[in-house]
């Protein structure tokens, strides 16, 4: 199943759930995010995102059965190519490659219990809960065996770069009512619109979900430099040459006098 059809399936499911969510019998989520915009400036070394909120139960009573929370922060999806190094004639070089049409640039899932204990595989796949359930839309050509290998390689690499995170006890629930989760956004993330979704899970079923948008953008000087490099590339190049000539000349002039 492709990513598009999965998200369609998800939308249908959410629509089907809507009457239930608004119904009196089911709990409701009041979620919030500490920042709805993250600005990349000259000293940007990453950001800490706090996702928090309250679970409102019908009648205000906390039920006996346990409710759990899972939060997912997801970056913009992009088409990528993953290359694999192999030893060819004594040299490690890129040999095989695989394409994925919809890899999220950032993905972090935190939950109050391990995701595998919360939902079954089908539900996890529909909501893309957990790193094993990302819908990467692999390109055609490679066999399923090879695809899995590249997928595992991609996830492992991005996990170590803190771009893909799964934290099975990253959500704290206080008195069954208040929840919070901290998600770290590293400096090496691309700009774009991120979504933060909170899921309320009971008896293996997702009974409430609430998405929020977070905008990560370069601002001021950083934004200007990126734009100049892309749009006025010749002028940008000429300026770079001029700056380096000036600095070289200035140092030489300064030291000759001194």
């Amino acid at each position: 199943m492709s990513w598009a059809s999965i998200s369609r399936a998800r939308l249908c499911l959410l629509l089907a759930l809507t009457p239930l969510l608004t119904g009196a019998a089911k709990p409701r989520l009041v979620p919030d995010v500490s920042q709805s915009a993250i600005q990349i400036r000259y000293s940007f070394t990453g950001a800490d995102l706090l996702l928090f909120g309250a679970i409102i139960y019908p009648g205000g009573r906390t039920p006996k059965q346990r409710t759990d929370i899972a939060v997912v922060v997801r970056g913009p999806v992009e088409p990528i190519v993953v290359r694999e190094k192999q030893k060819v004639a004594g040299i490690w070089m890129n040999a095989n490659s695989a394409r994925f049409r919809s890899a999220p640039a950032f993905y972090a899932a935190a939950s109050s219990r391990p995701l595998a204990e919360l939902v079954d595989e089908r539900t996890a796949a529909i909501y893309e809960l957990g790193l094993q359930n990302l819908q990467l839309s692999p390109g055609t050509g490679a066999g399923p065996e090879e695809q899995r290998r590249f997928e595992a390689g991609l996830i492992d690499l991005r996990e170590r770069n803190q771009l893909y995170v799964e934290d099975p006890d990253g959500v704290t629930i206080t008195d069954g009512v208040l929840y919070r989760a901290r998600i770290t956004i590293p400096a090496r993330v691309p700009v774009g619109t991120y979504t933060a979704e909170t899921f309320l899970i009971q008896n293996g079923r997702v009974i409430a979900g609430a998405p929020r948008e977070i905008h990560i953008q370069k601002l001021g000087f950083e934004r200007f430099v990126t734009m100049a490099a892309q749009q006025w590339s010749l002028a940008y190049g000429l300026f770079a040459v001029a700056v380096s000539l000036l600095l070289g000349w200035a140092a030489s002039a300064l030291f000759r006098r001194g």
Partner: protein, 303 residues
């Protein structure tokens, strides 16, 4: 002190980059090499994407070669006619190199190509330099047949259409320096080096230029070709990071001035031996990265 590099898309320690620039500048001033052969690999080891490392290092070399060129110009150590021919070849080479870079990038082989070229070029040049300087220092006895290099190389002598290069003391076909400049240009774009470590020995041994104008003329070529390279990378791969280049420059232009003062107190043969050891060390490190199992088997690139 962390600073975000807008084009590389990551934060680096600004003092470390300035320090790296300073060390490279010190070498430039002491030894008359651009130091790109050190900057680019170190930036790549540091985690800067190879394309950004190569492009920004070329920008930095432009700045560092200015002060050297000015110094040689005052001493009349520049053959402008020869320089112009080298630059013509170098610009052509840079354009061709730009195409090659894009092609290798699309094939996913750019990092392997960069590493291989480094190993081959630096390895052979380093060995030659080490032997030559060790011989000059008397650590090593030369064999008889190595003595008395020929003034005119037979290959350059047969090329048609001779020109007179007064300051170099040569009457040779401009095709030879044109080809030499071309090679330098390709290397500048692919490796982010000025190419001085190839061009200078070739000027001495292949073209037979007189020694007083070799370094100055080579600096003239490096300045023009690295400037052209910056423009080519800015317009094709769009990977010139001006913040990174300025940080490197802050260190290197100052370092170069100190290096030039140090150089006057140390024997030139010893300087060349130090350079040879450094060149060999970089080549060795690169060779290790090719032969050893890399830390990352998988790499990700946006399409």
């Amino acid at each position: 002190m962390d600073i975000y590099l807008p084009i590389a898309g990551l934060s680096v320690n600004a003092l470390m980059i300035i320090g790296l620039g300073g060390i490279v500048g010190l070498l430039t001033g002491m030894l008359g090499v651009g130091g790109g052969f050190l900057t680019t690999p170190i930036l790549i080891f540091y985690g800067i994407p190879p394309a950004v490392a190569v492009a920004s290092s070329a920008t930095q070399i432009t700045g560092t070669s200015v002060s050297g060129l000015l110094a040689y110009r005052r001493r009349k150590g520049v053959d402008y006619r020869m320089g112009a021919v080298l630059i013509a070849g170098g610009t052509l080479g840079a354009v061709v190199g730009g195409f090659l870079f894009r092609l290798l990038q699309e094939l996913g082989q750019i990092d392997t190509a960069i590493a291989l070229l480094y190993v081959i070029l630096l390895g052979s040049i380093g060995l030659l330099m080490a032997r030559e300087s060790a011989t000059a220092l008397g650590l090593f006895k030369p064999s008889e047949r190595d003595r008395a290099p020929r003034r005119h190389n037979p290959i350059t002598a047969v090329l048609p259409m001779r020109w007179r290069f007064y300051q170099s003391g040569l009457y040779i076909s401009p095709l030879a320096p044109l080809a030499l400049g071309f090679v330098g240009g390709v290397l500048t774009v692919l490796l982010g080096v000025g190419g001085g470590f190839i061009v200078v020995p070739a000027m001495i041994y292949l073209l037979g230029m007189s020694a007083q104008v070799v370094v100055g003329t080579s600096l003239m070529q490096i300045l023009a070709v690295t400037a052209a390279t910056t423009l080519i990378h800015a317009t094709t791969t769009k990977s010139v990071d001006i913040v990174l280049a300025v940080l490197l420059l802050l260190g290197s232009v100052v370092g170069a001035q100190f290096g030039a003062r140090f150089a006057q107190r140390i024997k030139p043969e010893l300087l060349r031996l130090i350079l040879a050891v450094m060149v060999l060390a970089v080549a060795f490190r690169m060779a290790l990265s090719l032969g050893w199992r890399p830390a990352e088997i998988y790499t990700v690139e946006p399409l």
